[in-house]
């Protein structure tokens, strides 16, 4: 490993202009750039629902990768595009990146509604699509893609985590046997919400739970008060909610005004992972809400990560805070960084080294990626299901956690093996959503 003179001096002297706490690795990349499309929703409702945080995370990954020498001395250059929270714009922008910009690789895509058509188009054109965030299982399952990859989780895993969490804690904490547990599933009605809700419904019923309400709504619906009325009528012990924003704030505001009380509300990613935003609106009332998503890197104990990943984690946290002044690193920032970094480091770099950076070399590199659990900043490993598998292109080592919020900070409460403590369950009396005795 080569060490730059400037980095060595900076690290030794602890000078403020040292690149954060990052030990110097290599000369910054300076060769011919490798251009990569990066497609996120930088405007529209999805931007603040997490897409922008993903984009910032990915940007930090590119910066860091280039500072560390890039791929064989060649920097990875971002060709940014904004899908404006609209599927047709996402398709047009992806087409522009491929046909006008002449790119072979596009990464990003926040919404599953965008990922569905994009995946088909990239496969047909034999271009590589690296989906950083869109999680609907249906994007990948049974489609036998060879050019579409998703290093992050898929929607079935949200259902699995939610149900397993309840199976482990329902009786212990709420004194309700799982087969008596009344569960309500509500969701935005795009592929993301529908996918997560379908998996949750199937697994909850298989576990013997009573699904008392399963209902979707449009994320742009101006009113959800009658949904609140129906939830009150069905008296669920637990509400599992998949949504973006502002539908989540609308629901919670109307739930509070409508006298909805329950034992627990479990969010399932997207808007519920934007705890800074929710806290701005609801303050301490967000305390003890649970949320299912991949782990934000700051939630993991550093010693469970490899030393190099620990270093990445530190850089991400420092740079994200410097860029955004966020109080707590959003999960989406970790996901954006992690997905971009694993592509750059584990696919692009070997593909440039062994095959000049061609698509064929990248596809070969994806089949060779084999990071163990703890090998990425989100704690999961990385290995793709092979071609021919019904989930070909999906990371088989991805994983979700259940986190719980306290004063706008998240802590992992499931899986128990990596939990920082047991969950507070049910809502304590201080919560406006807690059942009245």
């Amino acid at each position: 490993m080569s060490v730059s003179r400037r980095g060595l001096i900076a690290a030794g002297a602890g000078l403020p202009f040292a690149p954060l706490s990052l030990p110097a690795r290599a000369q910054p990349a300076s060769g011919a750039p490798i251009r990569i499309g990066v497609l996120f929703d930088l405007s529209g409702p999805l931007a603040a629902a997490g897409s922008q945080a993903c984009a910032v995370g990915a940007e930090i990954a590119f910066d860091l990768f280039n500072e560390r020498g890039g791929a064989g001395g060649r920097p990875a250059q971002v060709v940014a595009a904004d899908s404006q929270s609209r599927a047709e714009v996402a398709i047009n922008e992806a087409e522009r990146l491929i046909s006008q910009e002449g790119l072979d690789v596009v990464m990003g895509v926040f919404s599953s509604a965008h990922a569905m058509p994009l995946a088909q188009r990239f496969e047909a054109q034999r271009k590589l699509l690296w989906i950083t965030t869109a999680i609907s299982t249906a994007v990948i399952k049974g489609r036998n893609f060879t050019h579409v990859f998703r290093p992050t989780v898929h929607s079935d895993q949200y259902g699995e985590a939610s149900v397993q969490f309840l199976l482990e804690h329902s009786e212990r904490a709420m004194r309700i046997a799982p087969n008596n547990l009344r569960v309500a599933i509500i969701h935005e009605d795009g592929p993301y919400g529908t996918g997560v809700a379908a998996a949750t419904d199937t697994l909850a019923k298989a576990a013997g739970m009573r699904v008392v309400l399963h209902e979707g709504y449009a994320a742009t619906a101006p009113d959800l008060s009658t949904l609140v009325t129906k939830l009150r009528r069905e008296r669920p012990d637990v509400i599992l909610h998949t949504g973006y924003n502002p539908d989540i704030t609308l629901f919670l505001r109307q739930a509070k005004a409508g006298g909805l009380r329950t034992r627990m509300i479990i969010g399932q990613g997207a808007g519920y992972s934007q705890i800074d935003r929710l806290t701005e609106t609801f303050g301490a009332e967000m305390n003890h809400f649970c949320n299912v998503d991949p782990a934000g890197t700051q939630m993991l104990e550093p010693e469970k990560l490899t030393p190099e990943v620990r270093d990445l984690r530190q850089v991400l946290m420092q740079r994200y805070e410097a860029k955004t002044r966020a109080r707590d690193l959003p999960t989406h920032a970790s996901t954006g960084f992690n997905s971009a970094w694993t592509f750059l480091e584990n696919v692009l770099k070997p593909a440039v080294r062994d095959g000049g950076g061609s698509i064929a070399a990248m596809i070969r590199a994806t089949q060779s990626v084999d990071l163990p659990v703890g090998g990425t900043i989100q704690g999961h490993g990385l290995k793709f299901y092979p071609p021919g598998h019904e989930m070909a292109g999906q990371n088989e080592r991805s994983s979700t956690v259940v986190m719980q919020y306290e004063n706008a900070r998240a802590k992992v409460v499931w899986p128990t093996a990596i939990a920082s403590g047991p969950p507070v369950l049910p809502f304590p009396a201080s919560s406006p959503f807690a059942l009245r005795s």
């Binding site: 709504y217 101006p222 009113d223 949904l227 924003n245 509070k256 005004a257």
Partner: protein
């Protein structure tokens, strides 16, 4: 009566109150100027940002922020008329639609540049009211009462003031009134100001119920136009009644079926109305 059904009905009426003000404003402008402001929901968005900014960033008392939003959006309505609509008064309707549609994107983009894509919350709410297990949101009820008061004030303005009578006269017959000494250009400006001020009032009522962001207009803009057409474009009483009808359809549809289906029913009803009464449900 099932308390939950009663609650759903109350929700529907309150929702109708939310829809009613933008519908009145849209219909007033269309009835008088004969131009559809496609960007009407975005005027509401600007008003919501104004209230949010003045109250949370400038520490103005809420009532002062509300009081400022009305003339501000009213002024915006006047500017919209003078800069965009007036030069196109003789142009084909599609040109007018495209122009006000363009303003929609300008306002959305402008809000995004100034305020970013974050959701902004006013952080104000009234406690709910409970009566025999029926919950009513205090905030929504207050907004509903303010909407009714606004509609009554508009009615009094149109009924008892000289300019209000002139507005109604122009809406009744655009060709004849100039022959009787009414200056339609002045009436257009006043109608645009009043239409804008109604958007400002709607903004005050919505900002306490919804987070504001540059694309908030998507939540209620399309349904506002649907209600306007359903009640009869330019027909203010028709639009007002249609707003409550739509609120009840959405609410009871959601109660008996589900939230998604309620909008399917609402749109199916709208299509049926357009086939059966193309000039609107309450057209005379």
């Amino acid at each position: 009566m099932d308390p939950f059904l009663l609650e759903a009905l109350v929700n529907g009426i309150l929702l109708g109150g939310v829809f009613a003000l933008p519908v009145l404003g849209c219909n007033l402008v269309f009835g008088v100027v004969d131009v559809v402001w496609l960007c009407y929901a975005e005027l509401v968005m600007v008003g919501m940002y104004a209230v949010w900014f003045l109250h949370t960033q400038q520490a103005w008392p809420l009532y002062l922020a509300f009081a400022a939003a009305l003339p501000l959006v009213g002024l915006l309505g006047v500017l919209l008329h003078l800069i965009v609509v007036k030069p196109l008064l003789g142009a084909p309707p599609i040109n007018q639609l495209l122009a006000t549609g363009g303003v929609l994107f300008v306002l959305q983009g402008g809000a995004m540049l100034v305020f970013g894509t974050d959701f902004r919350s006013l952080g104000v709410e009234l406690p709910p009211m409970e009566w025999h297990d029926v919950f009513v949101s205090g905030t929504k009820l207050a907004a509903f009462c303010a909407a009714l008061a606004g509609a009554a004030a508009l009615w009094a303005f149109l009924k008892f003031t000289y300019i209000g009578i002139a507005i109604r006269a122009i809406a009744r017959d655009r060709e004849v009134m100039p022959l009787m000494g009414v200056d339609p250009r002045r009436v257009y400006v006043v109608a645009s100001a009043v239409g804008g001020a109604l958007a400002g009032l709607a903004a005050c009522l919505l900002v306490v119920q919804l987070d504001v962001h540059p694309f908030i207009g998507l939540s209620f803009g399309p349904i506002t136009f649907m209600i306007c057409v359903m009640g009869g474009l330019g027909n203010m009483l028709g639009g007002f009644l249609a707003a409550f009808l739509m609120g009840l359809i959405v609410s009871t549809g959601s109660f008996w079926w589900n939230t998604e289906m309620s909008y399917v029913i609402a749109f199916a009803f709208f299509i049926a109305v357009i086939f059966g009464r193309p000039r609107g449900l309450f057209a005379r």
